[in-house]
C-alpha cells in the first residue's frame, strides 16, 4: 500500500485509538466506567480566588500533577489545556499502535478544537501585571496561550507532519475539528488524523466571564429535567485516532467504530440563543452524509447543556428531524457527569458514542428529577442502559449558532 495520500474516491474512516482526561477519569477505561455507573464528576471548585465567584461548582480534574507527566522544561511551555491534550493523545496513539516517525507522518496530521486555548496562562499573567503590578512576564506566555499550542505540541510529540491546525467554534469546537479530520481521511487528503479537543477554563477569569452570562447553575447540571437551572463547566481533553479504514484493516488494527457522516450548519440568527432549524439541518445533514435513515439511529449523545433554551430547542430539533422515530431512540447528555468542556466537550462525548456501539451500554443523563413536556424524549434518566445500537449521532450546538453533528456506526 502506498503511503502517499490518495486523491480519488471516498475512503472509509476507522477509529483506532482514543484517549481522555476529564473529571471522571484520567483515561478512557476509568471514564467509561464512571459513565456506566452514572457517577457525577461535578463538585466544589478549587483554585485561586474561587471565593470571589458566585458560581463555585464545576467538573474539575482534581489532584492534577503535571510533574508526574512532564519535565520542567515542558511544563514551562505547556498550558494546562496542552497538558491535558498531550496526555489524551498519548493514550489514543498508544492504543492505535501507529508510529508516525517514518513516511506515515508525512500524510498524517492533527486537528483539535478549543475555545479558550491557554486561558490559565492569560489569567495568571494578567493577574501578575494588573493585580501584582509586575512589569515583566515569562518569555513563553505567547507560545503557551495560543490556541494552536496543543495541536502543535501533538504534532511534535508524534512526528505528525501533514495538515494540522486548531478550530475554535466555542462549544462545537471539537465536533468541528473531528468532522474536518473525518473529511480529510475520507477524501484521501490525509491517511491518519489525530483529532478531538480540550479545554482548561476552570480558573478565576474563565468562570467569572461565564458568570456574567447568567447561564451557569450554582448547584447541579440536570439536562432535560424540568427543574434544570443552567450549565456546569468541566475541563479536560478527548483525543481520537481517525485512520483510513483500509490502512487500519491491512495492519490488523482493532477498529473501535466507523465514522460515517458529518454535517455543519449556521443558525445565522442570534449570538447566544439557539435555533431548532439550524440544529435540525445539522442533524439531518449528518444522516444524509452517512447514508443513514432516521430509523438507523439508536442513540444520540445530546448537546444537552442543562440550560432552559438549549434543551428544549434540541429536543424540538430531534423531534422534527426524526419524526415518529424520535420516540424510539435514546438521547442522553453526559454533561450531567463530566460537565461542559466547552471546546473539548464533543470529544469526551464521542467516547460515550463509541461505548454505545462497542459495548452496547448507553450512558445516562444523571440528575434527572422532573419530566419536562418540552423535552419529552427518552433521555435515559439517571441509570445506564444496555441496548444494541448500530448507528449513533453526537450533537454540538455552539454559541454563535454554529452546529456540528457527527455520525458513527458499529465497526
Amino acid at each position: 500500500m502506498s503511503l502517499r495520500p490518495v486523491s480519488q474516491g471516498r475512503r472509509r474512516v476507522a477509529i483506532t485509538g482514543m484517549g481522555t482526561i476529564n473529571a471522571l477519569g484520567c483515561n478512557v477505561p476509568d471514564t467509561l466506567a464512571a459513565m456506566r455507573e452514572g457517577r457525577c464528576g461535578i463538585g466544589e471548585l478549587d483554585f485561586q480566588d474561587v471565593e470571589r465567584l458566585s458560581v463555585r461548582i464545576g467538573a474539575q480534574v482534581h489532584g492534577w500533577e503535571p510533574e508526574a507527566h512532564f519535565n520542567r522544561q515542558q511544563i514551562s511551555l505547556y498550558d494546562k489545556f496542552t497538558q491535558f491534550t498531550l496526555l489524551a493523545a498519548k493514550e489514543a496513539v498508544g492504543q492505535s499502535g501507529l508510529n508516525f516517525q517514518g513516511e506515515l507522518g508525512l500524510c498524517s496530521g492533527v486537528v483539535l478544537g478549543t475555545a479558550g486555548g491557554g486561558l490559565n496562562t492569560w489569567d495568571e499573567n494578567y493577574r501578575a501585571v494588573y493585580e501584582e503590578g509586575k512589569n515583566r512576564v515569562h518569555p513563553f506566555v505567547v507560545p503557551k496561550l495560543m490556541n494552536n499550542a496543543a495541536a502543535s505540541h501533538v504534532s511534535m510529540e508524534f512526528g505528525l507532519r501533514g495538515p494540522s491546525f486548531t478550530v475554535a467554534t466555542a462549544c462545537a469546537s471539537s465536533n468541528h475539528a473531528m468532522g474536518l479530520a473525518f473529511q480529510m481521511v475520507r477524501s484521501g487528503a490525509a491517511r491518519v488524523m489525530v483529532t478531538g479537543g480540550s479545554e482548561a477554563m476552570l480558573c478565576f477569569g474563565g468562570v467569572k466571564a461565564w458568570e456574567g452570562l447568567r447561564v451557569m447553575s450554582r448547584d447541579a447540571c440536570r439536562p432535560f429535567s424540568a427543574n434544570r437551572n443552567g450549565m456546569v463547566q468541566g475541563e479536560g481533553a478527548g483525543v481520537f485516532v481517525f485512520e483510513d479504514w483500509d490502512h487500519a484493516a491491512a495492519r490488523g488494527a482493532d477498529i473501535l467504530a466507523e465514522v460515517v457522516g458529518f454535517a455543519m450548519s449556521a443558525d445565522a440568527q442570534d449570538i447566544v440563543m439557539p435555533s431548532a432549524q439550524g440544529a435540525e439541518r445539522a442533524i439531518a445533514g449528518a444522516m444524509q452524509d452517512a447514508g443513514l435513515n432516521p430509523e438507523d439511529i439508536g442513540y444520540i449523545n445530546a448537546h444537552g447543556t442543562g440550560t432552559a433554551a438549549n434543551d428544549k430547542t434540541e429536543c424540538a430539533a430531534v423531534a422534527h428531524a426524526f419524526g415518529h422515530h424520535a420516540d424510539r431512540l435514546m438521547i442522553s447528555s453526559t454533561k450531567s457527569m463530566h460537565g461542559h468542556l466547552i471546546g473539548g466537550t464533543g470529544a469526551v462525548e464521542l467516547l460515550a458514542c463509541v461505548m454505545a456501539l462497542r459495548a452496547g451500554i448507553i450512558a445516562p443523563t444523571i440528575g434527572y428529577e422532573e419530566p419536562d413536556p418540552e423535552c419529552a424524549l427518552d433521555v435515559v434518566p439517571n441509570v445506564a442502559r444496555e441496548a444494541r445500537v448500530g448507528a449513533v449521532l453526537s450533537n454540538a450546538f455552539a454559541f454563535g449558532g454554529l452546529n456540528a453533528v457527527i455520525a458513527l456506526k458499529r465497526a
Binding site: 514551562s76 515583566r136 515569562h138
Partner: protein, 87 residues
C-alpha cells in the same frame, strides 16, 4: 558582590541547561551548554527576575543587542555592569 553575581548567573544557566554548575566555565558559550534560542530567552528572563534588572536583549538579532552573550564570562560581566548601574 561580584563573586555572588557570577555564582548566581551560573546557577541560573546551569538550571536551564540541566547541568552541574561545576560544568560551566567562563569560556562556555550558550550553544556549547546546549541552550537553544528559547532557553536563552528563558535564562535572560530568570536573570532579570533574580537581579531585578532589565537586560537589553533582542531575540530577533541577538548579535545586535547591547548585551554580549558570546560566552558566560561576557554575560556575567554585562550583568555585573547592569547591577552596578542600578545601585
Amino acid at each position: 558582590m561580584s563573586k555572588s553575581v557570577q555564582d548566581r548567573v551560573i546557577a541560573i544557566v546551569a538550571e536551564q541547561a540541566m547541568l552541574d554548575p561545576d560544568e560551566i566555565t567562563l569560556g562556555s558559550t550558550p550553544a556549547e551548554l546546549g541552550i537553544d534560542s528559547l532557553g536563552l530567552v528563558e535564562s535572560i528572563f530568570a536573570i532579570e527576575e533574580a537581579f531585578d534588572i532589565s537586560i537589553p536583549f533582542n531575540a530577533n538579532e541577538p548579535a545586535q543587542s547591547d548585551f554580549d552573550i558570546s560566552s558566560m564570562g561576557a554575560i556575567i560581566a554585562a550583568v555585573e555592569k547592569l547591577v552596578a548601574g542600578k545601585a
